[in-house]
C-alpha cells in the first residue's frame, strides 16, 4: 500500500522504494513542441529509446508504442537520431493518437 509505505519511509531510518512516490512530471519542461511519429516510417530500431534521456519512448516487446508526455522534456534527441525521419517535432496543441501518431485533419477533435 502506497500510504502505508509513505508512513514507513517518513520515519527516521525509513527507506524509499521506487514507486512509493509519484514520479515528478517533467513534461512541463517542454517549451512549445513535442515529438510525434509517422508510424508507417517507423522500423522499431529503438535508437530513439536508447538515446531518450527521460525514458519517455515507450515500447512493448521491442515494438514502438509512442511517447510518455508526462516525462518528455522536449529535447528533440529522438527526432535527431531517427534514421528514417519518422519522428518529428510538432506544436504542443497538435492532436495525436495514443501511439503519438499525427491524426488526419478533423479527427480527434471535439465537435
Amino acid at each position: 500500500m502506497a500510504s502505508e509505505r509513505q508512513d514507513a519511509f517518513m520515519r527516521p531510518g525509513g527507506v524509499v522504494l521506487p514507486g512509493d512516490v509519484a514520479r515528478p512530471r517533467t513534461g512541463g519542461w517542454r517549451t512549445g513542441v513535442k515529438p510525434a511519429v509517422q508510424l508507417e516510417k517507423c522500423v522499431d530500431c529503438l535508437l530513439c529509446w536508447i538515446h531518450c534521456p527521460d525514458m519517455a519512448v515507450q515500447h512493448k516487446q521491442g515494438v514502438f508504442q509512442g511517447f510518455d508526455y508526462d516525462l518528455c522534456k522536449g529535447c528533440e534527441v529522438c527526432a535527431e537520431v531517427c534514421p528514417t525521419g519518422a519522428i518529428q517535432m510538432v506544436a504542443e496543441a497538435t492532436q495525436l493518437d495514443p501511439r503519438g501518431a499525427i491524426l488526419p485533419e478533423g479527427e480527434g477533435r471535439d465537435g
Partner: protein
C-alpha cells in the same frame, strides 16, 4: 553481444532507472546508466558520488533508482563500493547469500573521479575489489555551474577558465585518467561513448565478467556546459569519436586495443564548431590554440595506434587459446 531490442526487453522486464529525474533536457548521462544496467545480467548495487546524476535522481522523497543505491560523499564513491563488495564477500563466505553474482557499479562524474574521488578510486583499484567504476565524463563541474575540472580539455571556456581580454579558456591540458587507471594493473579498463551504444554494451559485458576491478570512462555530452543544442547530444558525441577527440579503446591486462577506427575521420574543427565553449577559437588570433589542441589529439591517437600494434600478437594468442 546484445542487440538494442534485447536491451529494451531487459529494461521492460526489470527497469533499474526511471524517468521523472531532473537531469537537463538532452543530457547524456541517462543513456550511459541505462546501457550499463541493461548490459549486466545479474543483480546490481549502485553507488554514486556527488554530482549531476546523484542530485537529479534523488530529490527526496522521489528516487529514479530501481536497484539498491548508496550515496555517501563526493570523494569516496570507490571506498563505499569497496565496503559493499567486502560485505558481500563476507556474507557469501558465511553462506548468507544465494550465491547469485552481484555486480557493484559506481557512477561518478569527472569531478568525482579525475579530481575529488581520485585517491579513493586509486585505493580501491589497488586493493583489487571486484566492482565496475563508471566515470560519466562531461568535462567540467556541471552540477555546480560549469567550473573547470581535471577533465576539461585545453582551451575550453568554463566559468573558472573564462574567455576575456586575458583568458583564452583553460590553459592546461586535461589529465589522462584512463592511463592513470591502467597504471594500477587492473584487469579491464576502457573508453566509450553513448553514440556507439553497442561498443559500450560489449565493454560493460567484458568489464563485469572480470574477477577484479574494472573501469569505464564514458564521454557524456552536456548541452548547457558545452553550449550545444539539446537535440544535438548524440551527434556531438559521435563527432567526438569520429574526429578522434575521444578514441574508443579497451585495455585488457595492460594490453591496448582500439575498438573503433573512424571510417571517414572528421576534422576536429567540425566537432569544435558545435560547441559554444570553443567558440572563441574561430578568431584568427586563436588559430594557434586550435592547432595546439589538434596536436594533443593527434599525438594521443598515434600513441594508441602504436600500443594497439604492440598488443596485436597478445590478443591473437589469447583468441587462439580460447578457441
Amino acid at each position: 553481444m546484445a542487440s538494442l531490442k534485447q536491451l529494451a526487453l531487459r529494461e521492460e522486464e526489470r527497469p533499474r532507472f526511471t524517468g521523472g529525474h531532473s537531469l537537463c533536457a538532452g543530457c547524456g548521462i541517462p543513456t550511459i546508466v541505462r546501457t550499463v544496467f541493461d548490459s549486466i545480467p545479474g543483480p546490481v548495487v549502485a553507488v554514486s558520488a556527488t554530482g549531476c546524476l546523484e542530485v537529479a535522481t534523488t530529490r527526496y522523497p522521489f528516487t529514479a533508482w530501481g536497484v539498491p543505491w548508496l550515496h555517501v560523499a563526493f570523494e569516496n564513491a570507490a571506498a563505499v563500493a569497496s565496503g559493499v563488495e567486502a560485505a558481500y564477500r563476507a556474507l557469501a563466505q558465511r553462506g548468507r547469500l544465494s550465491g547469485e553474482r552481484v555486480t557493484i557499479v559506481v557512477f561518478a562524474g569527472d569531478g568525482g573521479t579525475y579530481d575529488i574521488g581520485l585517491q579513493a578510486l586509486s585505493g580501491a583499484l589497488e586493493r583489487g575489489h571486484r566492482f565496475l567504476y563508471v566515470c560519466y565524463d562531461n568535462e567540467a563541474y556541471m552540477n555546480t555551474g560549469i567550473q573547470r575540472s581535471g577533465a576539461t580539455p585545453f582551451a575550453a571556456s568554463t566559468t573558472t577558465s573564462p574567455v576575456g581580454s586575458v583568458g583564452r579558456g583553460k590553459a592546461e591540458v586535461r589529465k589522462d585518467l584512463t592511463a592513470i587507471v591502467v597504471a594500477h594493473h587492473i584487469p579491464y579498463a576502457a573508453q566509450a561513448s553513448t553514440s556507439h551504444w553497442q561498443d559500450l554494451s560489449v565493454k560493460v559485458e567484458r568489464a563485469v565478467a572480470q574477477e577484479g576491478p574494472s573501469f569505464l570512462n564514458i564521454l557524456s555530452t552536456c548541452p548547457p556546459g558545452w553550449g550545444h543544442e539539446a537535440r544535438d547530444g548524440a551527434r556531438v558525441a559521435r563527432l567526438a569519436v569520429e574526429s578522434r577527440y575521444w578514441p574508443l579503446f579497451e585495455v585488457v591486462d595492460g594490453h591496448y586495443r582500439l575498438t573503433h577506427y573512424p571510417q571517414h575521420p572528421m576534422a576536429l574543427v567540425e566537432w569544435l564548431e558545435m560547441q559554444k565553449r570553443f567558440s572563441h577559437l574561430r578568431g584568427i588570433a586563436s588559430v594557434d590554440l586550435e592547432s595546439e589542441l589538434e596536436r594533443e589529439i593527434v599525438a594521443q591517437w598515434q600513441e594508441l595506434e602504436r600500443r594497439t600494434a604492440e598488443s596485436k600478437a597478445w590478443f591473437e594468442d589469447r583468441a587462439t587459446e580460447s578457441a
